[in-house]
């Protein structure tokens, strides 16, 4: 597909479109009732739970409250189910809702970018899927159909992609994927058989990635958070538990037990991470259909998402310390309109934040060249620009000041030997600054801007001149003292990659020149949101 053509959305007139078999007004799958109710109750989990609990224990008020919650909810779901119909007619997806207050949403099919599917185990058991229709403009899902049977999904997808294939001639070669979806409807996995598979993750690599990740730590955080939230510390006798833990007394056996216990906990955290990875990314597959990338993965809840290539605004390569050691990397992407963390749902989290959860280092160049035409990135060959010559001195001075503050604070906190902490921290922080200044690099090539930083968790991110929104040069009073400046490049999407191009400690004149240069190049290019 010609990207220019795609961007500007050269929409053929309706008469040019072939006769498509329109989908006549259709109800959702009957099990929608159940899923609608379930999602409703999930929002009211706590009040509904309390009400049901007191109702079960025979309280009249509880029963009344439960009744008040339950009956309208059921009525609402039934009402919604019977008043919602969707259809495809005249090149538009039409969703009609309501009875007294009617709403009619029409989405031109050639503006539809993604048809994402989410299937949790219950969905799979009933052979249905939640469908999210996304357009380029929307910051959130344009339309959500909860839920459709697989047969309906196949029909819907076939109609949407058939029309799109016609509008984009080069896509015609893969127009067979509609047919393939039919054969697929017999299988419960919504995996596309067609298209070119770019990345799959063998079990062994997935396990290694899980081991290398810090996900387990996050789970601990969740548990601790729940513990405080539910006020459990007053109900669980922590002191009683503490009595079972042997005191550390320095004998060989005792030291051994302690070391083993600590190692055990660390291992447990790693194993939790592995489980998380397994649940999320089991049977991961990234494939390319013309100009679209498709991701599908998940053990119980299966997610499948489509991302048009030209919607990618920002590519970020993450390598944690352990991943670097294992020769692995993760790739995150950001797309236009993929808002903040709040708006994220299962499918967008997977398809952006965890775009490629793990990939061997040597497969990276090939993957990147698939993400954007003509994209090459050899991090060793890039003409990385150095930071300002006095950047390291400044960072070391910052660490010296930091450790002095730590020393003074330590002295006032625990007197006597408190200042030792500051003394110890000084060389460590200075060493850390050195590592940091070595990791932090900026580079501009003909088509992109690349920024890399992070000592333990190395992040290398890039954006492209047609994706740059604004460039900014910033100087704090301290920067002026050191004749340094910060260069910031803003794109239409910042969030899932958890990295922004904001380069500190650059030489002021250099940063200023870059700022001007980037703006000048960006201004000659049309913005491309895909």
């Amino acid at each position: 597909m010609d990207p220019e053509n795609h961007v500007n959305g050269d929409i053929p007139s309706v008469s040019e479109l072939p006769e498509t078999a329109p989908i006549h007004p259709t109800w959702l799958h009957p099990s929608s009732l159940v899923f609608d109710l379930l999602s409703y109750f999930r929002q009211l989990l706590i009040p509904a739970g309390v009400a049901l609990f007191s109702a079960a224990s025979g309280s009249l008020t509880g029963m009344v409250i439960a009744f008040v919650f339950l009956v309208p909810a059921v009525m609402r779901s039934v009402f919604q189910y019977f008043t919602l119909r969707y259809m495809i007619d005249g090149g538009e997806l039409i969703i009609r809702k309501g009875f007294l207050f009617r709403s009619l949403r029409t989405i031109p099919i050639n503006r539809i970018q993604n048809v994402d599917l989410v299937q949790n185990p219950l969905h799979r058991l009933l052979g249905v899927a939640e469908v999210r229709v996304e357009t380029a403009s929307g910051t959130e899902t344009e339309a959500r159909l909860r839920v459709l049977s697989i047969r309906q999904v196949v029909a819907l997808r076939r109609e949407i992609f058939r029309e799109q294939d016609v509008t984009s001639p080069e896509n015609a070669g893969i127009s067979s994927h509609g047919e393939n979806l039919i054969t697929e409807s017999t299988s419960t996995h919504l995996r596309d058989v067609d298209g070119r598979t770019l990345v799959t993750i063998p079990m062994e690599r997935l396990l290694r990635a899980g081991l290398a990740s810090d996900r387990g730590m996050l789970l601990i955080g969740v548990v601790v958070g729940l513990f405080w939230q539910l006020d459990l510390e007053n109900q669980v006798d922590l002191r009683g538990l503490l009595r079972f833990i042997p005191q550390f007394d320095g004998t060989v056996w005792n030291t051994f037990i302690w070391t083993a216990a600590i190692l055990g906990v660390l291992l447990l955290l790693r194993i939790l991470g592995v489980f998380w990875y397994l649940l999320r990314f089991y049977d991961y597959r990234l494939s390319r259909f013309g100009e679209d990338l498709r991701v599908s993965c998940g053990l119980f809840t299966r997610v499948s998402a489509t991302i048009p290539r030209n919607r990618i605004q920002f590519i970020s390569i993450h390598r944690t310390f352990l991943m670097k050691w294992m020769g692995l990397a993760a790739v995150r992407i950001e797309t236009a309109g993929s808002g903040g963390g709040q708006a994220e749902n299962a499918s967008s989290t997977v398809s952006r934040r965890w775009f490629v959860p793990v990939i061997p280092e040597q497969m990276l160049p090939e993957l990147l060249s698939e993400l954007r035409s003509g994209l090459t990135l050899d991090e060793h060959q890039l003409a990385w620009q150095p930071l300002a010559t006095n950047a390291l001195s400044r960072m070391i001075r910052m660490s010296v000041v930091g450790s002095l503050i730590l020393g003074v604070a330590g002295y006032f906190a625990i007197h006597a030997w408190g200042w030792i902490a500051g003394l110890v921290a000084m060389p460590l922080l200075a060493w850390w600054s050195r590592k940091k200044s070595k990791a932090m690099r900026y580079c501009r090539t003909d088509d992109k801007i690349v920024y890399r930083n992070g000592v333990l968790h190395r992040k290398t991110s890039m954006t492209f001149f047609d994706k740059v929104q604004t460039a900014r040069f910033e100087q704090s009073p301290f920067d002026r003292r050191w004749n340094q400046g910060r260069l910031v490049v803003d794109t239409a999407a910042a969030g899932p990659a958890e990295h922004v191009i904001s380069v500190r400690f650059l030489d002021a004149e250099f940063a200023k020149a870059e700022f001007r240069h980037i703006s000048a190049i960006a201004s000659t290019m049309q913005p491309d949101f895909g």
Binding site: Q469, T470, A471
Partner: protein
């Protein structure tokens, strides 16, 4: 090359520019005005420029920077004066009530002292700050886009390329209306700096710049 047809807006009087005792290099801000004879001379020399001197040519071709409208200082000071007056009135009321109810005691003395210090500080600040702001703000609309330099201590420069402008507004607060000033707000599809605000230029100029941006963008998009 299409230079924006904007008339120099709010030309600062010569004494103000010369008054900047810190000098140009201290703030690293570009000159607001290029001496016309020099510019003309450079333009005449364009034909004889060597490749290596193209950089000089570029700077000549770039339109000059504008400051904010001088009335910005007045309008800000008026607004700040009102704020200070309200603050002073509040402090006086508190002191009066306290005096009336408890007579003169230690608390009243402290309160009075603190009020004097705070009000004096606010008054001083609200008088100096608009001027500082004025001195540190520069803007221009060039082929590259709308460029704004801002910030007294934490300074920044931003360029919004014309083609990245989603929409542009001109707003006018009550104080600005009194002085015929306006605020130009340019929105992009970006995230961390999705809008750029230029407050305190002539209202008519703001409208002209907005129209210019929109016209420029529609030409670009059309091609």
């Amino acid at each position: 090359m299409q230079n924006p047809p904007i008339e120099p807006e709010g030309e600062p009087p010569d004494d103000l520019i010369n008054e900047n005792q810190f000098g140009e290099n201290h703030f690293g801000l570009p000159e607001t005005r290029v001496a016309t004879p020099v510019q003309e001379a450079l333009k005449l020399a364009v034909g004889e420029l060597e490749v290596g001197e193209l950089a000089v040519l570029e700077t000549v071709k770039e339109p000059q920077f504008y400051t904010l409208d001088l009335r910005f200082i007045k309008s800000e000071r008026l607004g700040n004066t009102i704020f200070t007056a309200v603050l002073l009135l509040g402090a006086l009321t508190w002191i009066a009530i306290r005096w009336w109810m408890h007579g003169i005691d230690l608390f009243l003395e402290i309160l009075t002292g603190a009020s004097v210090v705070v009000v004096a500080f606010v008054a001083l600040f609200s008088w100096i700050w608009p001027r500082k702001n004025y001195e540190h703000t520069r803007w221009r609309a060039s082929d590259t886009g709308l460029e704004v330099h801002k910030g007294v201590f934490w300074q920044h420069r931003i360029i919004v390329p014309m083609s990245r402008v989603q929409h542009a507004d001109v707003t006018q607060g009550p104080m600005q209306r009194l002085f015929g000033l306006g605020t130009l707000v340019v929105h992009t599809a970006g995230t961390s700096h999705a809008s750029v605000e230029l407050a305190g230029i002539d209202h008519q100029a703001a409208i002209e710049v907005r129209d210019l941006i929109i016209r420029f963008r529609s030409i670009e998009l059309g091609s």
